[in-house]
Subunit: 311 residues, 4 copies
């Protein structure tokens, strides 16, 4: 049944599966790997799965464009959860392979820039060829097509490989953010440490359009956590922007900013309000003076008194 | 009875009286001249008059500070109407006086800069001394204290004087704006060509405070028609701002801007929404795209759908 | 000779004279009272005086419009010094007059709002009539035309009067700012605690014009200390702005902002850079990070390297 | 010799090679395919090549992150030319293959989203697997590993394949922008239709940092053509921005904006000023009023007069 099935960007043994398994609700679901982000999401759109876990942002590579573009177009979807996973690669080889034996390496294209420096230092002559996924790279090593694959250490057993080197990551604090995506429904109640995701299209090509869009947030004291430009497919120089803002759509400062954007932008797509991973309510800085829900209520009350001749 | 009485900045024969007599509702009221703007307004505050007509802005001299400061402080009052009056002075003299006889001239201090060039050109040696009002200057000429007074031509008869020269005004299109002020009540319904007056106090002395205040209007597409700084009395460099904005408090873009200012500024005083003098609805430019009431309603509906999982 | 003569807003015994006497350079000059601000400034324009001291801003009444308008128009003038004077009035009467004898009071129109509360509390029935200046009011009391005049205590002796009450001022910290104005010349060298005065005309009536003008300052980190709207005389709703900014025209952030304004505004009038009264260099807050002269020089050097292919 | 060698993102038969061959200067150079963008650029850094042609932006996929990240870090490089190439794919197969025979397809990961809709419509059951490049995909088809490859039609002959379908592109007007990159040197002289590329790091995480950065451009009337966020590698939520602005570094409005950014941002990397591909000087809109070089010169002259006491 769809309600019991979660898809994810497969194959088995990817970081996405590892991220999915950190979610308590995953324990009671059937977890189904899919060949691509679009496939994982289309299963949700089509009702064959209740939700899909897909990567959306990487601290080294940036936004995961396949995910951003899928969420920005097609049948609407919504984000309900996010998961942060520290990313470190293991160099997986067939048992018996030494580092000096490694002439060819593989891995997901996104992995390459995260291990580039390590490769230059340790395997300067190894030839890199991309695989469809890190796990798929491991499979290709198992099949003998490559000597080594960069993948999560947890993938070794699945493919009969061994981790020759572990904890490989060029950047400190490398991590990937994953999102759990479902069909549109009411957002979860605010937790006090939430974020809101939207995709915004710029109105026309007048030079200040992005500036005006940012001011819709700034005037209401809403902080931005991500702003990622994406081409609209209408030709070079036409962008939409994926934006993550602090706060929940039910926070008055957030909802007023969203409505302002809805009036200003030719298109706005609400992607959800959901708890921030790894952030407790006590970690969240207070909203700017004058932007709490109480401030909004007090201002509404004042306006009502003005309209009533009692201000 | 107070409901039948309107006060105005007297004495009789001032431009203020002339402005008041242009209002249809004045025809059925007792019109009472007062010695000063505070006196005219205090009569309203105290219930002895239903409303007061006072000057608020002059195209030559700028904001009338006594009026602005009275409206900004003390018991709240509200503006219900405005009147624009073209200002041209007559040089009033006792019958038989020739221009060459005029050695001393008088008038309200505000009149002086409006006739300065005329004086330089026509009476370069005449000595100016200020009077408490233009009409009071006429009275002083009647009493023989001065040779001539600048006042409205209509004031001549009251004081037994004759207009020696008329249509004196250094600036083209000189005009004065007057406001009819009453105790707080519901603003009149919008006419489609309205303005809204407020007084805004800046939050603290951080450099961008005025910029932020203006952005509360700009983000909602509300145009400003007047911005007049006034000292708060808290020492040099401390200001509040009297602002006139296009539109009515019941327009959504205006009310949202006002609520934003209420949240941001330590103090906001709503002075009223009222029809713009001399402007028909057809003269008013359309609000910026995305800021009509319909746009606000559509955005609210969209937000409701988002909250409901149906966007 | 003009070089030895300073004019000031007279007559003798005004606060302006008291302010002028605080300047060391005044000790060696002939100090000539003039009947009005325009007269004092025209004497400078005409070469009959080296400089004029005139009031420009009052913590109760705001900008002194006669001075602002004279500086904004006509033959250019420049400000070289400013003087701050605490303002407290004395009630001057003829010897033998008791408070209960006072039925009529006079003073400069600007004095009235500064003593309004005191009058309400202490002389509620006294009739106010304006005089051409505070000192002139004292003269009128001397002549018997009024019972009492509000003026500086120092004016009593000149007119044979006595101070019946002293230290009258409705607002705490009431003070007036005066400026010493001369013909255009090189500004004095920066002291580290300077201000720069300009008059700015808005380009057209597009709603954001004032916002853009303020951003020219904000982007360069230049703080504003005064912004005073003044009508241009071109009809209600047309303003120019008198602006005082922190810093000296030779500071790079100030000069770049001024050039930006010169390019953006249809008209800019530079009124001078001069030391701030009562402020030591050590009291001045540091410029915002990235806006010191050293930062400008470093950025210029970097640009030169870019242009040279060495960045 | 390095001066005669240009590298490019290989292998032979890619769109990059096709783009490179549109440049007149390529005709006299040795064109060397490299396995990756970093390899192509490192050859320039190391002096083995005079320049490298690499893709930087795709109308479907957005910024080419490998190129953006290489230009933003490591030994500085500069952009001297750009090339725009319309992108249409051919489906390359071994001679004799019919569309119904195609069970597996390959191509560069960037190609996939550009042919996704075509695949859904025409080969819904075909399995996609990524190749290291489009040309490499062609080679894998030649070797029999896949049934068909998406690549440029021009690549068919090189690999003994035939184009089964041509002009495949999901989006109208799909095009890719390539840049010719060399070691830092003086930028080419302005042509009147130029662009300037920079990478900007945000100062700190205060909410308005991006807004301030955009205002440095806006205040000087510099239009932006691209703004692409890139992670800095310092953890989720830390970005730098690749920005393309209209105009040449020798335009005064551009140089002043760049110096403003240099002062404001912790790091700015100038990537070059170069002619805009496919845009004639006559197509370029005039700069905003007040931002031409003549306006800057006039403002400088005015400032000099102010400093000299002659304004």
């Amino acid at each position: 049944m769809s309600a019991t099935r979660f898809t994810y960007l497969g194959p088995e043994g990817t970081f996405t599966e590892a991220a999915l398994r950190t979610l308590p609700e995953a324990a009671t679901r059937e977890l189904v790997p899919m060949v691509s982000v679009p496939a994982a999401l289309d299963a949700v759109r089509g009702g064959e799965a209740a939700a899909a876990l897909v990567p959306i942002e990487n601290s080294v590579e940036g936004g995961v464009t396949a995910t951003l573009d899928e969420l920005a177009s097609g049948e609407p979807l919504m984000i309900y959860r996010e998961v942060l996973l520290p990313i470190a690669f293991a160099l997986l080889v067939r048992p018996g392979t030494a580092l000096s034996d490694v002439k060819t390496v593989t891995g997901h294209p996104v992995a390459q820039p995260q291990v580039r420096n390590w490769l230059r230092a340790n395997l300067p002559d190894a030839v890199w060829e991309s695989a469809a996924s890190n796990a798929d790279g491991a499979r290709l090593v198992q099949e003998g097509r490559f000597d080594a694959a960069f993948a999560g250490e947890f993938a070794a057993a699945t493919y009969g490989l061994v981790p020759l080197v572990t904890e490989i990551h060029d950047a400190e604090n490398a991590e990937t953010r994953f999102v759990l995506v479902g069909r549109p429904a009411r957002p979860a109640a605010p937790t006090g440490a939430d974020k809101t995701s939207v995709v915004l299209w710029l109105g026309d090509d007048h030079p200040g359009a992005l500036l005006e869009l940012l001011q819709e947030f700034a005037v209401r004291g809403v902080n931005l956590m991500l702003i990622q430009s994406r081409p609209t497919g209408q030709g070079i120089g036409n962008y939409c922007f994926a934006v993550d803002a602090e706060g929940h759509i039910s926070d008055r400062r957030v909802s007023e900013a969203l409505m302002g954007l809805k009036r200003t932008c030719p298109q706005v797509r609400f992607l959800g309000s959901y708890p921030r991973a790894g952030v407790a309510q006590s970690d969240v800085r207070s909203p700017r003076a004058g932007t709490s829900d109480g401030d909004f209520t007090a201002a509404s009350d004042w306006l009502a008194r003005c309209l009533d001749g009692r201000a």
